[in-house]
Symmetry: C2
Subunit: 111 residues, 2 copies
Amino acid sequence: MTPDPADAALRALAEPRRRAILQLVAHDELAAGEIAAAFEVSRTAVSQHLTVLKEAGLLHERREATRRLYRARPEGLAQLRELLDDLWDSALDTARRLVEADTTAHHEETA
Amino acid sequence: MTPDPADAALRALAEPRRRAILQLVAHDELAAGEIAAAFEVSRTAVSQHLTVLKEAGLLHERREATRRLYRARPEGLAQLRELLDDLWDSALDTARRLVEADTTAHHEETA
DNA sequence: CGCTAACGTCAGCGACTACCGACACACGAA
DNA sequence: TTCGTGTGTCGGTAGTCGCTGACGTTAGCG
């Protein structure tokens, strides 16, 4: 098990095709075959992408007879939002602090 | 040029080492050598990571003599927050809608 | 039971990537 | 100018990843 749960999710989202799949199932619940039909790659490739997304916690799978219905999992996306928000907050604070320090330095120069 | 500006940023964040670097420069402005010293890989590897992060718009570079000072760029992270927020909203709406439809179906069954 | 449909899984291949050591370049001090 | 310091860049290598065709599996129908 990876100690960082966000790692798998970020690696999953790094792939453009997987982002497209996720957007597809964010609006509707779709079967594997329907998802595969939306792309020009083999059904195998799509199936593997679905596996990656599911293991990253970004997808919810529901079986209905031989079909497997997928939809995006909001909880999986939530943790990524947190990670980004924290990073963003820190970066913003640091940026502001540095700008202020620079301004102060200028004032001392001219003083 | 890639039509999707978030692609480079997401691919950059997919690498654990780059996330660690970003967290480092999110709190302080650091020189390339200082960043490299914080990890056990070669200075070369870190330099390449910095290039990737910079080209993804996640890093701000400032030159001071021979040194290059880096810090996280909030604007670069902001666009990723938007992308995630949109995905999250859609996924949440869809999830709620499906649950409601399921509940309604049960009511009709028992009606 | 045999047959079909809907999927996942496996083995292999080409492309990409994180890493390293060696080298090149820019800047400041003596 | 010569030397040392701080960094980016290049060539090469081992490992990873996305893709494909072939095969295995499960559920429903005749």
